[in-house]
Amino acid sequence: MNAVAEVENTAAEPAVPAVKPPTVKMVLSLTLIATVSGILIVLTHFLTKPVIDENKRVALQNSITAILPGTVKIEERMVLADGKILQIDQSVPAKGKDAPVGVRTYTGLDKDNRPLGIVVEASGTGFQDIIAVIYAYDPGRQLITGMTVMSSKETPGLGDKIESDQQFHANFKSLDVRLNAAADGLEHAIIAVKNGQKTNDWQVEGITGATISSKAVAGIMNASTTSVLPQIQKQISAFGFGQASAARDSATSTGGGQ
């Protein structure tokens, strides 16, 4: 019966006189609560930060390894707006005014430290909201060898098929993205075609019932490859390819290597 007695007591309290003390008490109590809250939040932040950072690192590693099998080590580089390549390590700030802005790429290295390919981040407008993808680029053969949707808000059951549809993803197992003669764009732009009408390796066959989302992905890939791949190819040695890559390709063609 304590609960009931407590409630009755609160109701029977005399009215508070409208003078100064209540203001001081109000400010003090809110300050006290705010201080305690602040301490709790900061404590939790610092306690969970290492775990969260590790989770993010593992998630990124998993998604890169999934489209670039055999990856053991990842080197992060950024293609800046002016075309320069910036190597990203612990010393480069991730956020804030000094953080570099550009396209993130991850070069996957196998256990012998040979580069397997470059994973590029790209994003653009989908049917509902932004679609973010990563794709694996083979600079030697000038092909896209895989694509994964990292985040999308497409319609469940319809547009979100771009995330899991096997046939759609087969488009990106060897998508032709060779550069044109001037090496400043693609020889053939990546375009979406209707389901069943794919004739060339640079076409993306859409998903029936998810035309707009499929077209959006093709558009995102086209925009990204057109602007980023020429920069990558121009400075391919900065990514660890070049002599090593030529040696690897010849090793592969004689049956050795991977």
């Binding site: 304590n2 609960a3 407590e6 109000m26 109590s29 006290l32 705010a34 809250s37 969260i52």
Partner: protein, 199 residues
Amino acid sequence: MAAAKKEVQNFDIFIKSLWKENPVFAQLLGLCPTLAVSNSVSNAIAMGLATSFVVIMSSFLVSSLRKTIPKEVRIAAFILIIATYVTIAEYLIQAVSLEVHKSLGAFIALIVVNCQILGRQEAFASRNPVWPSIVDAAGTGSGFLIAIVSMGVIREVLGAGTFMGVPLFGPNYEPWVIMILPGGGFFVLGFLLLVYVTI
């Protein structure tokens, strides 16, 4: 004798918050997250647990401080406390699973404005001792968990043909897609309300 009576009383408080005053079915509070996050069972469980954590911890702190919070600023104080625990819950969810954090998205932060929690502070925690407040909060949290998970089960099984991501029916099953869209959420909620009122 008094201790046994208190035990029974506390249990009554728990059952009352869980069923008779179920936050979703009886009080019709917190319908936004109930509708939005019940499109799959794992999301529903995560949301229910996160909300339960926030309401229990907030009730504990509010009840402990109930004699020091002046009446005039009580709502501001409650919101401050609730917001703190929601922030903590968000860090904890990220630490446990980034996947779940991504699925719940903005709805974790929206737990702050869930009327169930503020309602509990105002109606119970600010006027009662600590342990009964915790018990009451646990009842509310469990009631919400039961409500949102039952919606999640119906919507995921019918709308996607899976349970916790595991496909239940063969590949020829044509899912009733509207069930995982907002419209389906309303239908299922209405249906469950009908069931609750009839029981």
